[in-house]
């Protein structure tokens, strides 16, 4: 399912003394099957953009296209359920949304709301639980008896069980330890590939953006300031640094190396494997010449 934001503005508390323009003239295209990372500081407007992706917010100006549905400013938008079923959002600290008595009931909550029959929903719950790496035994447990990491996975399973075409992730690994972080990110990537989903990742982590995304959008002060493939974005790292954003460690290392040794590697390398190969090659060439 394609999503496209066309010149959207969003104002918080419009027409009050507290009015604030959160995003301005934002245009982003997310064709079906894209893995897109949206990067920016806290307050850059990326969370506001995220909430437009399944009509949780209605733009103050501009058009949001979600599949064949158009959401326009100054217009009543009814029957958004279909849109919300197709676009699943995993919010930051999703474990805070758990409320049911058992893990199973919580996971099937979304699907039931969208009119899926109970047996089918339960079937999906089992499958979703397997995807997030939890055992079926916990289906009957209370979600509040689980560890923090397990609660996070159950909440994610609740979104996966809706079987969305687009999945939006808002800092899904915040607060997890390194192992948990890697497992969750790898899980979403596998899912993205296997089911041909569109994935939109809102993150601070340049490492994750470089590793997983096909497209990166950089936001600052409510505006899109740069957009492109990871190679394009990270090939002008100076700009990123100027905005106070990080560069992936590999890129930072390559820059440091080039600066100090005068070595020229030509292009930007986004993985340790690539970079070490390129450096080794350059070094051996250096000896021969």
């Amino acid at each position: 399912m394609d999503i496209s934001l066309q010149h959207i503005d969003y104002r918080y508390q419009a027409n009050t003394p507290f009015e604030r323009l959160a995003i301005e003239d934002v245009s982003i295209d997310i064709p079906s099957g894209t893995y897109m990372a949206i990067i920016g500081h806290t307050g850059s407007g990326k969370s506001t953009v995220l909430q437009h992706l399944n009509a949780l917010l209605q733009p103050s100006k501009g058009i949001v296209k979600i599949g064949d549905r158009e959401i326009k400013a100054q217009q009543k938008n009814k029957n958004l359920k279909h849109v919300r079923q197709k676009v699943g959002i995993v919010f930051q600290f999703p474990e805070h949304q758990l409320f049911e008595e058992t893990v199973e009931r919580d996971i099937i909550f979304g699907p039931l709301n969208f009119g899926v029959s109970e047996p089918v929903a339960k079937q999906r719950a089992r499958q979703a639980l397997k995807q997030v790496g939890l055992a079926e035994e916990i289906l009957e447990k209370s979600p509040f008896d689980l560890s923090g990491g397990q609660m996070r996975r159950v909440a994610i399973a609740g979104v996966l069980a809706m079987e969305p075409d687009v999945i939006v992730l808002d800092e899904p690994t915040a607060g997890l330890d390194p192992r948990g972080r890697k497992e969750i990110m790898d899980m979403f990537y596998t899912l993205h590939k296997e089911r041909n989903l569109s994935t939109i990742l809102v993150t601070h982590s340049m490492e994750d953006a470089a590793r997983y995304a096909d497209q990166i959008v950089i936001m600052q002060q409510g505006k899109v300031v740069n957009q492109g493939t990871p190679e394009e974005i990270f090939s002008s790292p100076v700009e990123l640094v100027k905005m106070g954003l990080d560069v992936p460690e590999v890129v930072r290392f390559q820059l440091k190396l080039e600066e100090k040794t005068g070595m020229k590697l030509g292009k930007i390398h986004l993985s340790i494997e690539e970079l070490s190969a390129a450096v080794t090659e350059a070094l051996s060439r250096g000896v021969r010449s």
Binding site: L56, G88, P94, Q97
Partner: protein, 265 residues
């Protein structure tokens, strides 16, 4: 809707009233609530009115803001008036229009009672509009301090109030976040029959309770780690300071009281 409410809302400004000690403001409001019942004729009500508007003027709260915020309450005042008009059947008959009969006493009582109501609302909103909630808490704590002798938990109450005040914005943000998360899972908060709407609140309330308990627990641990062990032996950082203006305000109120005594019928 919420944005226009002015009850309990603080509006910062640089005025004499804003600068007053919260204790003197609390005392004045308390006394005002008592002496307003002294008024019983046109002159005394006019006096109270002049005093109220004088105080409002000094607070520099924009009139338009006050009007906007008080609009819903004005209906209540009008309603009081109408109620008195129709149900008091004393004095001379003024209007007789089909089943509607308005008597002199009804008109008098109606106007007085709704005016009293109106002035009370204005003065109490003035307190919250010009005093931060935490200042009110501090003022209350000091004023109620003597009650400690009868084992009334004054310090605990004040601490509870100030912590609640501190967490209100945090909980509002949290509510918004959880609501959106559940909407994304297909909950509809704003539509559907009444029974459905009640059911929709559960996925919001339970997570809110759970997280509030967790917050309370963590906060208690953090407070303990910072050496909190009850009110005993504690010093206070926030300080209230009584100025000349506070004393003058009390004198003004005293004068009003004396006048009311002299002029009431």
């Amino acid at each position: 809707m919420m944005e226009k409410m002015i009850f309990g809302r603080y509006v910062p400004a640089d005025s004499v009233i804003h600068k007053m000690d919260s204790r003197s403001k609390l005392i004045i409001i308390f006394l005002f609530v008592c002496i307003i019942f002294l008024a019983n004729n046109a002159v005394t009500y006019a006096l109270i009115g002049i005093y109220t508007f004088f105080m409002l003027g000094m607070s520099r709260i924009p009139v338009r803001f006050l009007y906007g915020g008080l609009k819903p309450v004005l209906w209540l005042v009008l309603f009081t008036l109408v109620l008195q008009l129709f149900f008091t059947k004393e004095g001379a008959l003024l209007v007789s229009w089909g089943p509607i009969k308005i008597y002199e006493e009804g008109l008098r009582m109606g106007i007085f009672i709704s005016l009293r109501f109106f002035f009370l609302i204005l003065m109490t909103s003035l307190l919250t509009l010009t005093t931060t909630p935490i200042e009110i808490t501090d003022g209350l704590e000091t004023l109620l301090n003597p009650l400690k002798k009868v084992k009334f938990p004054v310090h605990e109450m004040a601490l509870m109030m100030s912590i609640s005040l501190r967490f209100i914005p945090t909980l509002m943000q949290e509510t918004d976040k959880i609501m959106k998360a559940q909407i994304a899972r297909g909950v509809e908060f704003a539509s559907g029959p009444f029974k459905e709407r009640i059911k929709a609140v559960i996925p919001l309330l339970i997570p809110l309770f759970v997280s509030s308990f967790k917050r309370a627990e963590e906060l208690a641990i953090a407070m303990e780690a910072r050496g909190y062990r009850g009110g005993e032996g504690r010093t206070k950082y926030r300080q209230l300071s009584w100025h000349l203006a506070d004393s003058l305000q009390l004198v003004l109120l005293a004068m009003l009281t004396i006048l009311l005594f002299l002029l009431r019928s």
